[in-house]
Symmetry: C2
Subunit: 367 residues, 2 copies
């Protein structure tokens, strides 16, 4: 059996045909292209389609120490699920392209798909096609994801209005802190740093946030269907960068109050540990991860204060968090931070990761 | 201006917003995900969605000699358009992911997009999103393409019946012969072999077939809407391999008559030249390219003979070719060739290119 046959064996039959049919799959994996039923809303009208694509490249988005193969598969899909969630849509169908070095044990592809299908099952995504090619040196994984949203209900970045509240659906900075710890710990291991080492170090929650992010689909749906959410982004490139995108698209200023930012206990403890007891340095690390870290995949958005109480109740009933962290003001597009120490507000630079080394990444779904 | 800003400048505004809206684009490039209107048929019912993805990797699918940057962009989209055509569907919306080495002149990305958008304009495809990342060594381009087809009209590989005719919508082997010539000519040039050199050598048509394939969308639409087409594939991995896929999916034998295979004059002439006047060797080269070459992106299929005359007229009126090359027979799935010299039929091995070196590639839309 050649490698391709093995890969087919490992990737075929992962999702039951009956389940795929229930997700509208007419023709799935194995023909020239997949055929899918249009998705209808409760009134029987066709929903709009929501499409996104994301690529993960070895040595750019992950390396042998930071991510194990199933983590790569999980995160390759999860980053796309998060983009769909950030429009208020429901993820439905995925295409997967894997370019794998010839020298790599094909067993590792099976393990990558284990993680990808675990994420697909978690979020109800039918994998309907893909492409498998070789790659001279590096593993490259691209996932394209399609979702559905009720006509006119998608939430873009462009609707924030002065007077709106700024919110987060969860803490930020955990993934960046997890990566920080993994990079320091990497030297002690060949291959992926084991989760047991993170558990021993008290950083397991941070490492899990980095390796197995949990996109905020239910929160995104509540926000889109509420009618009160005026803009929405997922935190893939860092809170500062995402806030600036909303500010620029909406033509308004976002003011974030540092004391309102949700901070996980593990995050604060790791910042103190990483700073070697230097409290000022710990604070800098913490704020850096929170504003510039990225890959947290919680949602950042703005909402009409008139709808805030109702949304807060809906989130509470769903067991979800909704943290108000600031407000939208009239003025030139930009992001401001009101420091926790009561000092004057200061402009926040966009500190997202740029693959090419200069300034922030022009990300979003932009080729 | 950093590289990402330059790339954004070069890829933004390539398609007029009004035209994109006419293609159902509600939110295009620049947000977390694109939002698209569902496509309706003439009676106002939603059409089914058809999705595919294909990846091109430097040093695997092309190299510095065989393809110039605009060719890479063209072909990355065209290979997907061909998959949509092979279902009988109409291509509509594309997502583009480019992973580019940091050391590469970003100007080359602009030229890649020149070719991709030329193909998009040719086939009416709206580019609605993408991702741009860095890559340690090699350029990797992934395109995901969505199309639409009237409900129930998509044509898979699985419907060929004994008694059906086997057809091609154009000649095969040109792309492989073009690559053969390019590989021989590569040593004489730094960078892409210029088309002028191919013109001087009489191989320009072969090189164009390799670099700028023309998918068969109109033919695919005629076939799907005719109701007479029982199976359909595009010739991406070679005639033998595609025929075997139809045979296996349909549970029937495909018999191809060598003397019915359409042969372009340029192809026969180049086979003779490449064989150095050895007629037997020229015939072997020719048949090898035709059966095993791939990347021609014509359509191979089967049709009910009762509908053949009507389809032939429709193709003729559209200025398209429809070459009957054989017939479907009952029997174990397989592909047979009846030699032009009147000898006994012989089984045809699948000679498609396998990225991992063992047997044929398990391609199609299969992750």
């Amino acid at each position: 059996m050649d490698e391709f046959a093995r890969i087919r064996l490992w990737t075929g039959g992962r999702q039951r045909p009956e389940w795929q049919r229930s997700r509208g799959v007419v023709v799935g994996i194995g023909d020239d292209a997949a055929v899918l039923e249009p998705d209808l809303d409760e009134a029987g009208a066709p929903r709009q389609l929501v499409w996104t694509v994301d690529t993960m490249v070895e040595e750019v988005h992950f390396n042998a120490a930071t991510m194990d193969d199933p983590d790569i598969g999980w995160k390759a899909l999860a980053s796309n699920v998060s983009d769909i969630a950030a429009m208020g849509a429901e993820p439905r169908h995925a295409l997967v392209s894997v370019s794998m070095p010839r020298t790599r044990d094909p067993e590792r592809v099976r393990r990558l798909y284990d993680g990808l299908y675990a994420c697909a099952d978690r979020y109800g995504v039918a994998v309907v096609g893909g492409d498998t090619t070789s790659s001279p040196e590096r593993l490259v994984v691209t996932v394209a994801l399609g979702g559905a949203v009720e006509a006119g209900k998608a939430v873009t970045r462009a609707g924030a209005l002065p007077g709106d509240l700024v919110f987060l659906t969860g803490p930020v900075g955990l993934s960046a802190a997890g990566l920080h710890w993994l990079s320091r710990a990497a030297g002690g291991f060949t291959g992926p740093v084991p989760i047991e080492a993170a558990e021993a170090a008290g950083t397991a929650a941070l490492v899990r946030a980095h390796r197995r992010p949990q996109p905020s689909v239910v929160a995104g749906r509540l926000l889109a269907l509420s009618g009160a959410c005026t803009s929405l982004n997922d935190v893939s490139d860092g809170l500062a960068s995402e806030a600036r995108e909303i500010a620029e698209a909406s033509g308004a200023a976002l003011v974030i109050r540092e004391r309102l930012l949700p901070v996980g206990g593990d995050l604060a403890a790791y910042a103190r540990a990483a700073a070697g007891g230097d409290e000022a340095r710990a604070g800098e690390l913490l704020l850096g991860w929170m504003l510039g870290g990225g890959e947290d995949y919680v949602l950042l958005g703005t909402l009409d204060p008139a709808g805030a109480d109702r949304l807060a109740r809906a989130f509470h009933e769903a067991g979800l968090a909704l943290h108000v962290i600031g407000a939208v003001e009239a003025g030139p597009p930009g992001v401001w931070l009101e420091p926790a120490d009561g000092g004057p507000r200061r402009p926040v630079g966009a500190a997202g990761y740029n693959h090419f080394g200069g300034g922030r990444e022009e990300d979003g779904d932009r080729p």
